[in-house]
């Protein structure tokens, strides 16, 4: 990793990343506001509890009552808007490498005393920072909402902090996938397209596994199977298995990206 390059990569990505992080923060804040205003526990609670389990699972609420503040707010971590912002944050940073290959800026970068491995390590560091930022933004938005809007009872901060860690690990895994696609691609659009396609497929697997037995086994290959903020909030603890799998998938993605990038022609 190179400090100068890392500073530069942060500088280049700052606007998009900050906007995505602020969006996530604002979304979690709004979710608290919405709960406070709509009070689904009073008005919709019984109705929500009647939802079939697969649908509640799809909403990320199979393990915690959707009518409680914790259950409803956990949904804010798995809501499509939140997932889209997380994907944006991860892929925006991960596919920079492909943009540099496409524009041939990589020729200038790799004319410096900088190995391919060090260049890639700087991108991995950006992924770690993006994951930390996403977790911090989601947690901050949630806590800010809890501080501002009145709730029947305050959700446990520790539980949501742990859910935010789970969210950060998901961003890291998505970043690793994006970086692998970037290391393989000649163009940024190809890398983004491939990553988005794979993420949508993983989401499909995760949702399909809730409905059909046949998808249970392939769903183990989906990052999203190990992203269970509802479960984390219900238990008040992270599942070590989920943490290790997400970390392992990230590491595997980064190592494969390194292997590919070290060997390929940069054309």
């Amino acid at each position: 990793m190179d400090a100068a390059l890392l500073r530069f990569l942060i500088h280049r990505s700052r606007l998009g990343v900050l906007l995505a992080a602020l969006g996530l923060c604002a979304f979690e804040f709004i979710m608290v506001g919405f709960y406070s205003k709509a009070r689904p526990d009073e008005h919709m609670g019984p109705l929500l509890e009647l939802l079939p389990e697969p649908i509640r699972a799809a909403l990320g609420n199979d393990q915690v009552s959707i009518a409680t503040p914790s259950g409803f707010l956990a949904m804010g971590f798995t809501h499509p808007v939140a997932l889209m912002l997380l994907g944006t944050l991860a892929l925006l940073t991960a596919t920079r490498l492909a943009a540099d290959i496409e524009s041939r800026t990589i020729d200038l970068l790799l004319s410096q005393p900088l190995g391919r491995g060090r260049l890639l390590a700087s991108h991995v560091a950006i992924g770690v920072l993006a994951a930390l930022l996403a977790a911090a933004a989601a947690f901050a938005g949630h806590r800010l909402g809890v501080a501002v809007f009145p709730l029947p009872h305050e959700p446990r901060a520790v539980s949501f902090a742990l859910a935010a860690v789970n969210l950060g690990l998901l961003v890291l895994a998505m970043h690793a996938l994006g970086l692998l696609a970037a290391a393989l691609s000649p163009r940024r659009a190809t890398a983004v397209g491939a990553s988005v396609g794979l993420l949508i497929f993983m989401l499909f697997l995760r949702l399909a596994a809730e409905q059909w037995e046949i998808f249970k086994l392939p769903a183990y290959g989906s990052f999203l199977t190990y992203y269970v903020p509802g479960g984390v909030i219900a238990r008040g603890a992270l599942d070590l298995h989920d943490v290790l799998v997400l970390l392992g998938l990230s590491a595997a993605g980064y190592l494969t990206a390194w292997g590919v990038f070290e060997r390929r022609d940069l054309t």
Binding site: D2, A4, L5, R7, F8, H11, R12, S103, R104, T105, I106, D107, L108, L109, L110, S111, Q112, P113, L114, G115, R263, D265, L266, T267
Partner: protein, 297 residues
């Protein structure tokens, strides 16, 4: 003879079964010279440069720079080179000064030639503060040259450096490159423009369809070039004496047009003996020499 700065041994790059980027390139670039690397677009010049920089990997042969293997020891090599890629689009939202600062920072802040290069290429400090998306192509090219030169590398690899430069800046660049040669820097100058190479380089290699056609001292190349001699004698000569190295292209009364290959010193005395009224010697541009080789003549 000192060790070459760049040496390639059968360097080959193929794309798939049929497409040839570079075919068995054997080349040596000596310390302190400006080495011209000539060829039309698509001849393989950029491929060769990208192989030297380890951006692409050879399918055969090997290359060394400073005696170091370009693949295994590429980072050590890069500590001592400056590179100007042929086609590069730098980050559009960055001001020029940030680009220069980044590349200097990657070399632990070394930029002893920055101010001089910017001054000579007429890149003003005001312009450097503006994002690159507002820059013209020529200004971006100047910035890329400054990136390559600012750390005063012992070896400069320049791929079509005069692209988009106006004639005055081009001349300023050539002056700067000559001065750098005078200070012991080695310059590998890739171009498709023979006039530039003739003006600047000590030696030249001509590349055609990925193959090295010729490596020659520029002065020798010039000496080998074909000339056209248009002579008007005081009176129509009855017969022409033997004219070494010359071919008569046309003869009309007292006017004779000759084509001469090589030195003309031996040719002038017999012509003079016939009584010259007027003589015009046209030295075709090096371009013709290049085209001859390019056409496989």
């Amino acid at each position: 003879m000192p060790d070459p700065i760049i040496a390639t041994h059968g360097l080959t790059k193929r794309y798939g079964r049929d497409a040839v980027g570079i075919d068995r390139l054997d080349l040596e670039v000596r310390p302190g010279e400006i080495f011209g690397f000539l060829g039309p677009n698509g001849a393989g010049k950029s491929t060769a440069l990208r192989l030297l920089l380890d951006l692409i990997r050879p399918t055969g042969g090997r290359a060394e720079i400073f005696g170091l293997d370009t693949h295994r020891e590429s980072v050590r090599i890069r500590e001592r080179i400056g590179n100007l890629p042929g086609e590069v689009e730098m980050w559009r939202d960055c001001p020029g000064v940030e680009v220069l600062d980044l590349f200097a920072a990657l070399r632990r802040g070394q930029a002893p030639l920055r101010e001089e290069t910017l001054r000579r290429l007429e890149l003003s400090p005001q312009a450097l503060t503006r994002p690159l998306r507002t820059w013209s192509r020529g200004m971006k090219q100047k910035l890329a040259i400054a990136v390559a030169l600012q750390h005063a590398p012992p070896l400069l690899l320049l791929d079509e450096p005069t692209t988009a430069l106006d004639p005055l800046v081009r001349e300023a660049l050539f002056t700067l490159l000559r001065e750098l040669r005078g200070r012991g820097h080695t310059i590998f100058f890739s171009s498709h423009n023979l006039a530039e190479v003739e003006q600047l380089c000590d030696r030249v290699a001509i590349l055609r369809e990925g193959r090295l056609v010729l490596v020659e001292v520029v002065a020798a190349l010039r000496a080998r070039r074909v000339r056209r001699i248009d002579v008007v004698f005081r009176a129509e000569p009855a017969a022409l004496p033997p004219l070494p190295g010359a071919v008569v292209l046309s003869r009309q009364g007292a006017r004779v047009v000759l084509r001469v290959e090589g030195p003309i010193a031996d040719l002038l005395p017999p012509l003079h003996a016939l009584g010259i009224e007027d003589i015009t010697i046209t030295a075709p541009p090096l371009e013709e020499v290049f085209l001859e080789y390019y056409r496989g003549a």
